[in-house]
């Protein structure tokens, strides 16, 4: 085993220990900053991108350079060679091609997403759920980080066959409710009936787009989910700000699935990260905001879009993520998502405006009267 690989393995183990100790409210054996610096040093030594960004400057936690999310589609951001890839998670690539986040192990990703998902979606309960994915199945090519996480939630939070007494099969018919051009409404009904029969809730994992599609398919009808059920809603709202349209969608969903807004939990994740944030239910924060909570091993710092330095508390800034679980890529990720720090977490406020290419552009105002 190479020195880099064994150093990476040791860091992964430290991150997993830090995460579990933090969630169990034990005092971790090392601080966030200490662990961050150790990971950053590893990345400077083994990731050419970080070596270039950081150079030979002294290592200080506050100076850890952030890699812009766009860099993941411009080149390889990894501490290891392509021969060690076990997964290549891809961004949607709607503009400018797909970005790729390379992984040489998914153990940390798997553990941390499961423990934080259980903490935030299930309120730390270990009671079984019927877990369904209103999404396409996770593909064997391992391209979708969201699909991977959903599959692990199915395995860990349910872990049984949907029908019969056989072992858990992640691709069992009825588990994933989307196929190209088709939404399996009957499978959702069967899943809800199974959960009701077993006296347990449903955890429905979905994108916003798929939830809109579900409402269309229901055409005003209902599928009542058992008490305590939760819908995890991710993506789809551009820039992640929950808008009036989202409120209308949320209310329609609550009516269709017999839920309260608090049971519609927003998830924020991105391919370039290995960790996720969750809100406490739709518009459940102060002043009706959806406040997203970071796990103890992830920090979000709003930074000024020009200086890239932290803004004052409560001010709007670009989200700079420091994700300890990104051991083998880049610890700090800079995005163009605008966030504001509030009590208990962050509020997501959409992408920074401003086009990347504006030759001879019209001001947006110019269209108003056309």
């Amino acid at each position: 085993m190479s020195v880099a690989r064994s150093a990476s393995d040791a860091l992964h183990a430290r991150v997993r220990r830090f995460a579990l100790e933090s969630l169990e409210r034990k005092t971790p054996g090392e601080s966030f900053a200490e662990l961050a610096l150790a990971i950053a040093e590893h990345q400077r030594a083994h990731n050419p991108v970080l070596a270039r960004l950081w150079g030979q400057r002294a290592l200080r936690f506050e100076d850890i350079p952030a890699v812009p999310a766009d860099a993941f589609r411009l080149g390889r951001v990894a501490c290891f060679d392509g021969g060690e890839d076990v997964a290549r998670f891809q961004t949607s690539g709607t503009t400018g091609g797909a970005g790729v986040h390379f992984f040489r192990t998914l153990d940390t990703y798997r553990l941390l997403s499961v423990v934080w998902g259980r903490h935030q979606l299930l309120r730390a309960s270990s009671a079984p759920r019927t877990v369904l994915g209103l999404a396409a199945p996770f593909e064997p090519e391992r391209r979708s980080s969201l699909g991977f996480m959903m599959q692990e939630f199915m395995r860990e939070f349910d872990g049984r066959a949907l029908t019969g007494a056989g072992p858990f099969d992640p691709l069992e018919p009825g588990r994933w409710l989307l196929a190209p051009g088709a939404l399996d409404l009957e499978a959702l009904r069967r899943g809800a009936e199974r959960a009701a029969r077993l006296g347990e809730p449903v955890l429905l994992l979905a994108t916003s787009f798929a939830l809109s599609w579900l409402l269309e398919a229901l055409a005003g009808g209902r599928v009542a989910l058992p008490p305590g059920s939760v819908v995890m809603q991710t993506g789809g709202f551009k820039g992640h700000a929950r808008s009036l349209d989202d409120a209308a969608l949320a209310d329609a969903l609550c009516a269709a699935l017999q839920l309260h807004r608090a049971q519609l939990i927003g998830e924020y994740g991105m391919t370039e990260l290995s960790s996720q944030l969750y809100d406490g239910g739709f518009a459940q924060g102060r002043e009706g905001q959806s406040v997203f909570v970071e796990p103890p091993w992830l920090r979000v710092t709003p930074v000024d879009p020009i200086t890239l330095l932290p803004v004052a508390d409560g001010e709007l800034g670009l989200a700079r993520f420091t994700d300890l679980a990104n051991v083998d890529s880049s610890l700090a990720i800079l995005t163009q998502d605008q966030v504001r720090r509030v009590e208990g977490g962050i509020v997501l406020l959409g992408r920074r405006s401003g086009a990347s290419l504006r030759g001879c552009s019209l001001a947006a105002e110019a269209l108003a009267g056309a």
Binding site: V49, R52, L53, A66, V67, P68, D70, A71, R73, L74, G75, V77, G93, T95, G96, G97, P305, I306, T307, L308, L334, Q336, R352, S353, G354, A355, S356, L357, R358, G359, C360, S361, L362, A363, A364, E365, A366, L367, A368, G369, A370
Partner: protein, 358 residues
């Protein structure tokens, strides 16, 4: 119609000359305020980019490029303050009745010309487009798509979307490279690189090692150009774009400071743009930033960018001939002339001259 169109264009040019002759100082101060360009940048654009006395042949060619219409509308760009003149000329060549919606950010030239023009055209706050009218609009592709959706059926849209220029040099011709760098710097400093003709990339035929040497030469030329014509103020959005660009670029390439902007060398697969879009390339933003892309062959590089190329500045006549053969709808000119295209039609030749029937 074309003879009266020609008369209207000539009238516009007369007005423009008179206006600048009498009010250049006062107008320049306003442009300094509305565009953010330095006073030297405004003066440079007026001296080098505003057509003062195009030839009769150029005017005839311009008039011949436009279809005749009863009414024409113009939505003026905000990025290039002198662009109003050519945009107006095209509409006037096309129709006897012209309505112009100036940019709110920079309405100076259109309003000043309208005030002197005694009915030659009319500045309006809102356009009222009717079926059969022609609309000339310049802007980002998404913005033009939105406009397309708003126009009534039967209108004809002349949409000039996002675009940029490239410079082409041969790294083996070392004796010419200093002159080439100076010329590129002059093309870049116009409008602080906001225009759709502004070069963003330098395609350098030759080896990467030679490209790094040329980067030093180019950075020095930009520094020198910046002393003569300092960069003006960038908007907050532009500064944020610049920061993002620098941070992305720093992940993969050294960045040479060129006074106001930057120069870097990147080995890029330009054909990616054709399949994945421009964002796959990390194109430099406005503000005098350039990337030198070493290429072995010109053809695939230019073809990869063809959709977006409005202008190709070439270091030699031989390169011009090759570029012209490859890109018949781009303006192919010598380096240093990218921002002063002939007054023979729209600066951006990519769109169908007949327009697009809505």
């Amino acid at each position: 119609m074309s003879s009266s169109g020609r008369a209207r264009v000539e009238r516009l040019l007369e007005l423009s000359r008179a206006l600048l002759g009498e009010q250049r100082q006062a107008l320049s101060e306003r442009w300094h305020a509305t565009t953010g360009l330095s006073p030297e940048g405004v003066a440079w654009a007026l001296d080098h980019c505003l057509e003062r006395a195009p030839s009769a042949a150029e005017i005839a060619a311009l008039v011949a490029t436009v279809p005749s219409a009863r009414r024409a509308h113009v939505i003026l760009p905000a990025q290039v303050f002198v662009a109003a003149q050519r945009a107006l000329a095209l509409a006037l060549a096309s129709a006897p009745q012209v309505f112009v919606r100036p940019s709110r950010r920079d309405p100076v030239l259109a309003q000043a010309l309208a005030a002197r023009g005694q009915g030659l055209f009319e500045c309006v706050a809102e356009l009222s487009v009717q079926p059969g009218d022609h609309v000339w609009a310049y802007g980002a592709d998404l913005t033009l798509s939105a406009l397309r959706a708003q126009l009534p059926a039967g209108a004809v849209l002349h949409a000039h979307g996002s675009g940029f220029g490239v410079a082409v040099v041969e790294l083996t011709q070392a004796a010419r490279l200093t002159d080439a760098a100076r010329a590129i710097a002059e093309d870049v400093l116009c409008f602080d690189q906001r225009g759709c003709l502004s070069p963003r990339l330098v395609l350098a035929l030759g080896q990467e090692s030679q490209a790094h040497s040329f980067a030093d030469t180019l950075a020095a030329a930009l520094v020198e150009a910046g002393r003569r014509v300092p960069r003006g103020a960038l908007s907050a959005d532009e500064r944020a774009e610049e920061s993002w660009y620098r941070q992305c670029l720093a992940c993969f390439a050294p960045i040479l400071d060129s006074g106001h902007g930057s120069v870097s060398v990147r080995a890029l697969e330009l054909s990616l743009a054709a399949s994945q879009g421009l964002a796959a390339l990390l194109l430099p933003p406005a503000g005098r930033h350039l990337q030198i892309v070493p290429v072995e062959r010109l053809d695939p590089a230019l073809r990869g960018l063809e959709r977006w190329l409005t202008s190709v500045g070439c270091a030699t006549p031989e390169l011009e001939a090759r570029a012209r053969a490859l890109l018949p709808r781009a303006r192919v000119v010598p380096l240093g002339r990218m921002q002063s295209p002939a007054f023979d039609g729209p600066v951006d030749l990519r769109a169908d001259p007949g327009g697009e029937l809505i």
